[in-house]
């Protein structure tokens, strides 16, 4: 295989691997459920994107035509990841899962639970 193609694939795989690793590190390091949600929804989309791009380049080079499975995987991922994160955050809010002490506007959790309009006490609008 051409050196430059190999280099491109390697770079994409390493980049993807680094982002997936950072996403997993985030799961351990971050302190509460809400903050922890940010790591897998963000860091891993680019990580998986990089790995899938690498796979696309490899398969296209091997077979001589463009494979699109990877694009479909990316599409399904981009559609499903935010939904999962939203449901997890929503459930956490309704169960009043404890959050970091310095979380600002924590009172939004109870207004959201009681379905009241927020902002009576704040200077919005």
């Amino acid at each position: 295989m051409n050196f430059w193609v190999e280099l491109l694939i390697s770079v994409l795989l390493i980049l993807g691997g680094v982002f997936v690793l950072v996403g997993s590190i985030g799961l351990i390091r971050l302190k509460d459920l809400y903050v922890r949600l940010h790591a897998p929804t963000k860091a891993t989309t680019l990580g998986l994107g990089g790995i899938l791009l690498g796979s696309m380049v490899y398969m296209s080079h091997q077979h001589g035509y463009l494979t699109i499975h990877e694009l479909l995987i990316t599409l399904f991922l981009v559609i499903t990841a935010p939904v999962t994160a939203h449901i997890l955050a929503k459930v956490a809010m309704h169960h009043e899962v404890p959050m970091m002490k310095r979380t600002r506007n924590a009172e939004h959790v109870s207004t959201a639970r009681k379905q009241q309009a927020p902002g009576d006490t704040k200077d919005q609008d």
Binding site: V35, H38, L46, P82, K90, M100, R104, P118
Partner: protein
């Protein structure tokens, strides 16, 4: 009821199903074309009664531009969050904001909430049942929370309003 709407209640979804089936199998053989067509007809027939009427995409070009903009923002978001995650934890100052919604149909709100989750430092957490408020968890709050609200409203919500013309 015309023949087409009776046998193909969701023509666009049928085409999409056939295309996805052929892409998943990576083949254009007669067998897969036939099987894919059968699925593309049967699945919409089963699912059509579950449909909730939704606003149509009025500006497809704007929608395409929006997708490209969000893809760019996803890359930025990934790098920002990665740096925050490996950096010192004291730099993370989380918080909630309540974004007042101008959209009122469920599908555009879903698009907005998903975009907010995929883009820099924000995860959507709840939509109030009267669809007036979107609660967002922010990974690193700027001093003025209005900045976050304005960004979501001007960058994303305004574009979605144009796309769906609602």
């Amino acid at each position: 009821m015309s023949m087409t709407s009776r046998w193909l209640p969701m023509p666009f979804h049928s085409l999409l199903l056939l295309a996805v089936w052929l892409m998943l199998n990576g083949s254009l053989s007669l067998g897969h074309l036939l099987l894919g067509s059968v699925l593309a007809i049967v699945i919409p027939l089963i699912c059509a009664p579950l449909q909730v009427p939704q606003p149509k995409i009025a500006r497809p070009l704007k929608a395409l531009r929006y997708v490209i903009m969000v893809l760019g923002d996803i890359v930025v978001a990934n790098v920002q969050v990665a740096l925050l995650v490996v950096g010192p934890m004291r730099r993370i100052n989380p918080g909630f904001v309540a974004v007042p919604l101008d959209l009122d149909e469920t599908f555009p709100i879903t698009v907005l909430a998903s975009t907010v989750t995929m883009t820099p430092g924000t995860v959507s957490a709840e939509v109030s049942s009267d669809r007036n408020w979107l609660y967002v968890h922010v990974l690193n709050m700027p001093d003025d929370e209005q900045e976050v609200i304005d960004l979501i409203k001007t960058r994303y919500e305004a574009a979605i309003k144009e796309i769906f013309a609602c």
